[in-house]
Every structure is written in structure tokens, then in C-alpha cells.
Amino acid sequence: MSVDPTTTSGLAVIILAMAVAAYLTRISGFFLMRFVAVTPRVEAWLKALPLAIMGSILAPIAAHGGPAEYAGFAATIAMFLWRRNDILAAFAGMAAVAVMRLSFGF
């Protein structure tokens, strides 16, 4: 089935299809867990999930990163250890990246 995204109705069909797919990914895990009992092992799995996800997101960024990204990571960790504040730490990381890119062109 072909749709023409340059027409309003074609674009509406495409956005609708994307929206349904996106919403299904958001609710399917939630829905399936209704049938899973939260045993200690399931709890251990869900507890370990955030750090596993964060490792998965950060690893490729670190692997493809240069001096600017590494300075950003270092600044983020340093600020977090100092002030224990998520957002402040993220700002410090972003600022370090901006300084590296603006002044050294990394």
C-alpha cells in the first residue's frame, strides 16, 4: 500500500500508523507484566534494569566519542559527586562539551 506524504490525508495516515506503533511499544510491556508475579527474581531483574539500560545507551556514545564527550562525561560525574544533583550534573556535562567544541573545535 503506497501513501503520498505530500497530501494532508497521506501524512495523516503515516502519523497515525507511527502513533499507534509508538503507543503499543509503550503499553505492551506494562500489559504483559499484569500476568507476571513479582517474585524475588523478577524483582532483581527489574531492579537491575535501569543500570543495564543506561550502560547500553552510554556505551556507543562513549565508543564514538572524542575529547569533548569524554570531558562531558567527566564533568557530569564530578558535578554529581560534588552536589548530588541530576540536573546540575547534566548541565555541567553539556557545558564541558560546549566549551571543548567552541574553543578547541572537537
Binding site: 507511527m18 545507551i57 552510554l58
Partner: protein
């Protein structure tokens, strides 16, 4: 403890989300500029941002814009990029258990990475105020649409948002959350296995399957290995 909604929780989440808006708006601008590039109007791009609300999935969909089987291509883009949300939803379910279903399913429309991570932080702190998650999601939705409209409208005049490090905001936020989750050496296992598996998948599979694969591998290893050693 059963979950609840409070006005105080909503504003706490909302203002925490506002703190993250620079990154969200910058990301929205990037999408808006690219959407403008394939010929989407401000309205079209903003509508997509509202209904789909998934940055990386929308960016990937734009890459497919010239494809003959566009409908299939965009749906595949969304599923590949959002597959991690299946895990996010599974992890968040016990936290929301007991909430009226319509509230839970409506709240999940706003599920994105940072408010999921914030929900996990609240869960670990023993707090069950779902309004924190929703408030943060609403803030992101606003930033995402403002950024999209701005990018589609006059993005070409703004220059490269990368220069200002805006693209690094989300990774930095994830890293700082990971620091907060870090409790001891036992946490190295899920993080390291997740990172290693993600690198392999990112190299050989593409899309954003690496997040799903790394997340599953890291968390399952952590859930099964230590107990097996203990018994």
C-alpha cells in the same frame, strides 16, 4: 504501598522536566529542521511530534521518507527505536500496580526515557507518586513540540545546536542518573554486560536494538548469576 497522584508530585516532576527542557528543545529543533528539509509543514511536523512523541524514531522515519513502501518503513523505524519502551513499561508496572487502568494507560502515552528513569528513582526511594512521572512527561511534551515548531519554522537560521553541546544533554542526564543508581560493586555487572552487548548490537545490527539487547542481557545476568552462585 499503593500508587497515588498528588499536585505536589506533578509540580515536582514538571519542574524537574523544565530543567531538562534545553536538551529537549534542542533535540526538537534538530527534528524540526530535518522535517522541514523533507517538506513537512510546521503543522505536520508538530502533529507528528505530539502523536508519536519519540525523537529517535521520528528522526529515523525521516530517513525513510523517500521510500516506496513508506508506511511499512515508518512503522519499522518506530518499533526498532522504541523497542526499549517494552522493557521500560514492564519495569514500571509494579510501581503503578493498583492504579485505575485508564489512568495507567493514559499516563503511559507520556512515557519517555528521562521520566521513566525518574520513575525508577522514585520507586527505589519508596515513593509511589505517579504524578511525578506525568508532570515530567507533560514538560517534555511541551518542550518537544516547541522545539519541533521552532526547528521547522526558522531552524535554518539557528545554526548547529551541536556546537553548544545541546545534543549531549540527554546522555549527560542518563550518566548522572546512573551515578545515582550506583550503590556498590554489584551494580557493575548489569552496567558492564549491558554496555558490552549494546556495543556488539550497535556495530552489527543497527537501529536502536542495542538498547533492548543490552538492557535485557545486563539485567537478566544480574538477576540470575548471583542467586545461582548462592544456592
Amino acid at each position: 504501598m499503593s500508587p497515588y497522584f498528588s499536585r505536589a508530585g506533578f509540580s515536582r516532576g514538571f519542574f524537574e522536566g523544565i530543567g531538562l527542557l534545553p536538551g529537549m528543545i534542542a533535540f526538537g529543533i534538530v527534528f524540526g529542521v530535518l522535517a522541514d528539509g523533507v517538506g513537512l509543514s510546521i503543522t505536520g511536523a508538530s502533529a507528528m511530534s505530539f502523536f508519536v512523541f519519540a525523537g529517535t524514531a521520528q528522526l529515523l522515519a525521516l530517513h525513510a521518507w523517500g521510500a516506496p513502501d513508506l508506511l511499512v518503513a515508518v512503522v519499522v523505524s518506530v518499533i526498532a527505536m522504541n523497542a526499549r519502551y517494552v522493557l521500560f513499561g514492564a519495569a514500571i508496572q509494579p510501581w503503578m500496580r493498583g492504579l485505575p487502568p485508564w489512568i495507567a494507560y493514559a499516563s503511559l502515552f507520556l512515557l519517555v526515557d528521562p521520566n521513566w528513569a525518574a520513575a525508577m528513582r522514585e520507586r527505589d526511594a519508596g515513593r509511589h507518586d505517579i504524578a511525578v512521572f506525568v508532570g515530567m512527561g507533560v514538560a517534555f511534551m511541551i518542550g518537544w513540540i516547541v522545539g519541533t515548531a521552532a526547528g521547522a519554522g526558522f531552524g535554518p537560521l539557528l545554526g548547529d545546536p551541536r556546537r553548544l553541546g545541546l545534543d549531549f544533554f540527554l546522555p549527560a542526564f542518563f550518566l548522572s542518573l546512573a551515578c545515582g543508581f550506583w550503590k556498590g560493586r554489584g551494580d557493575l555487572l548489569p552496567f558492564a554486560i549491558g554496555a558490552a552487548v549494546a556495543l556488539v548490537f550497535e556495530r552489527f545490527v543497527g537501529g536502536s536494538w542495542h538498547v533492548l539487547a543490552g538492557g535485557l542481557a545486563g539485567s537478566l545476568t544480574a538477576a540470575f548469576l548471583p542467586r545461582k552462585a548462592a544456592t
